[in-house]
């Protein structure tokens, strides 16, 4: 669905990304992991056509990403950015309806409004519909933005969803629900590329993981292949242990460092 070939991005000869090869197929959930500044958000911006690759190419549905018009892209993929500050008092419904803007001219049709309602309920925030966005908590705002992105691609077949840290500020239940929803979407043939900070979530939910280190692809493949003790230690600089508790279905990644005692701090 979307593919990068030896893609790189540089600003004033500072290489932010180099030689990225990524091939996202319909129905796949890709997690992008890496330390701060490894180039995760830059990769999302390359894929969303906000940045143009300085080297290599990005292909979307088999064609060069830059050959698409912005309006065409808006009808094929949705992007959820890391920061979403809105100071004007739009209602939640109006914000989510913005996801439908690429699909109607001046007046939203009943269908657009129905999709907005549906997506609000899908994310579980139907009760926030008439609240003013700036009065919501950070986690609630993030869920509204997620509903907006969902409304944008809900109808299309094989849509692409690019998420930059989708669960920022959400509580435990809603993080879980967001990933369940992602799973449901990939089941319907959508492709998702998400920057994920929590390696445990990447391990649990992602089919494929791309691990970035200093702007280069350090490892890529299935979650269990990539998220190994050695890879994580090299990419993040922290030794970890991967354990499987008896009564869980998943493996768990825990830091493998001695717990510092209080006396340690007092020194």
């Amino acid at each position: 669905m979307i593919e990068t070939r030896q893609a790189g991005y540089e600003v004033r000869s500072r290489k932010l990304l180099q030689d990225i090869n990524l091939k996202v197929l319909p129905g796949q959930f890709w997690a992008v992991v890496g330390a701060n500044g490894a180039g995760k958000s830059t990769l999302i911006k390359l894929l969303s056509a906000e940045y143009t690759a300085s080297q290599g190419s990005v292909l979307f549905h088999g064609k060069d990403l830059n050959s698409f018009k912005l309006k065409e892209l808006a009808r094929k993929r949705a992007v959820l950015a890391q920061q979403n500050n809105i100071s004007l008092s739009f209602t939640v419904q109006e914000i989510v309806l913005m996801g439908r803007y690429p699909f109607y001219e001046t007046q939203p049709e009943q269908r657009d409004l129905a999709i907005v309602d549906f997506c609000l309920k899908k994310i579980g925030i139907g009760y926030l519909k008439n609240r003013l966005y700036p009065t919501l908590s950070g986690g609630e705002q993030q869920r509204v933005q997620l509903a907006r992105a969902l409304a944008q691609i809900w109808e299309i077949e094989n849509g692409l969803l690019l998420l930059d840290e989708p669960t920022t500020g959400m509580d435990l239940l809603h993080q879980y629900e967001t990933f369940q929803l992602a799973k449901e979407m990939t089941g319907r043939g959508f492709a998702i590329v998400a920057v994920i900070h929590d390696l445990n979530q990447a391990l649990q939910y992602a089919d494929q993981v791309l691990m970035l280190k200093e702007g280069k692809c350090y490892a890529s493949g299935s979650a269990r292949e990539v998220l190994t003790e050695e890879n994580i230690k090299t990419a993040f600089g922290l030794p970890v242990q991967i354990i499987q508790p008896e009564n869980t279905r998943f493996q768990i990644i825990v830091p493998d460092v001695p717990i510092m005692s209080e006396s340690h701090y007092q020194k």
Binding site: L70, N84, F90, Y101, A114, F118, K121
Partner: protein, 369 residues
């Protein structure tokens, strides 16, 4: 998502007649309310003045003009005052107000900054500078021109000044930065300061007479209204008011941030050009005939936003009508309060605008808590 029951949109569509989902906009209601208010203000303004015209007289004059009744029981003098002086002036106030209001609203949207208005991108200061040039040179070298086309020379030249300054600000922002809206804003401030300095220099060199007309021009006045000036402004403001609402969806998306707007299909470069050109058309023409009238472009969008919400679909249209209302009222006051003399309208808009603006800010804060 776990607890709520979910209906697929397809199913909702099936019996759509029964549960129509309300459209989240009070567009129709707002337009009607404001238009009615504007009509009342226009009639009030047309009747008030040194020679006051009663409602019945006004009705007779209009019916007479339309040829419905032949025998108007109105003094000829009143009829002439209405046709030649009052009506063009009211029309000009409506046009200038609409142009300033919609430009303010759209620029605040483009710059994602609630304090942005047309003065920031150099429209007003550029027009001022060129007008001052004309006033200065007129007296010295173009005495003849003054007789024939002095007033229109100022209008024409100041419109060019407005357009030119805005163009320079826009080009400069592309050279110094990547043309982002913050860069435009900063370039605007820089160019404004520079243009202001030259205007200041000219003022310093001006004679007493010139100084008086410069001051009067800088404070704004609709005193020069005539059917010719109305006709000159109408197409510019008309284009701005008719085309700008088509950009309301893009301006709404801009609220999400430049990159999010782009991911929803907004081409920022095109949008920037469209908004700046349309705003300059309206404001440039307004400033050209009426001088710089401050505060309308800043305050009207805030009022509309507080009353009808921040959606640009309502905000742009509302600000146009709202600007027209406020300027009509302000002009009525400006020509009656110290009659038979006139108070520059810019003084009034700022004088009444400031406390009102502070009240709105206070009210917004109170609402948030």
């Amino acid at each position: 998502m776990l607890a709520e029951t979910i209906k697929e949109p397809q199913m909702i569509r099936g019996n759509s007649n029964q549960n129509l989902i309300d459209v989240p906009s009070s567009m129709g209601k707002m337009v009607w309310t404001l238009s009615l208010l504007l009509l009342v203000c226009v009639i009030f303004s047309a009747c008030t003045g040194a020679i006051s015209i009663s409602l019945t007289e006004l009705g007779h004059i209009i019916l007479n003009q339309l040829g419905i009744i032949t025998d108007a029981h109105v003094e000829e003098q009143k009829s002439i005052v209405f046709r030649i002086i009052r009506l063009p002036r009211v029309c000009l106030a409506v046009l200038v107000g609409a142009g300033l209001g919609i430009a303010g609203a759209s620029l605040q949207g483009l710059f994602r900054n609630p304090v942005a208005d047309s003065t920031l991108i150099g429209v007003s200061s550029g027009a001022s500078l060129f007008a001052v040039f004309v006033i200065m040179l007129n007296a010295r070298y173009f005495g003849m021109l003054n007789e024939m086309a002095g007033a229109y020379a100022i209008s024409f030249v100041s419109f060019i000044g407005a357009a030119l300054t805005t163009y320079i600000v826009y080009q400069l922002s592309k050279v110094t930065g990547e043309g982002g809206v913050t860069t435009i804003l900063l370039c605007g401030i820089a160019i404004n300061a520079f243009v202001g300095a030259i205007t200041g220099l000219m003022t310093y060199l001006a004679t007493d007479d010139q100084l008086r007309s410069i001051t009067f021009w800088n404070l704004g006045s609709l005193g020069g209204a005539s059917w010719t000036s109305v006709m000159a402004v109408a197409p510019f403001v008309g284009i701005s008011v008719i085309l700008m609402p088509y950009l309301s969806k893009a301006l709404n998306l801009l609220v999400l941030g430049e990159s999010q707007a782009a991911s929803l299909g907004v081409n920022m470069n095109v949008l920037k050009k469209q908004v700046i050109i349309l705003a300059t058309l309206g404001v440039g023409a307004s400033v050209a005939v009426a001088g710089t009238i401050g505060f309308v472009g800043l305050i009207v969008p805030h009022i509309i936003r507080t009353l009808f919400g921040p959606n640009h679909r309502t905000l742009l249209v509302g600000s146009a009508i709202g600007g027209a209302i406020i300027l009509t009222l302000a002009d009525t006051i400006s020509r009656t309060i110290v009659a038979p003399s006139e108070l520059p309208i810019g003084i009034l808009t700022a004088l009444f605008g400031t406390p009102f603006f502070l009240y709105i800010l206070w009210e917004q804060k109170r609402k948030r808590i």
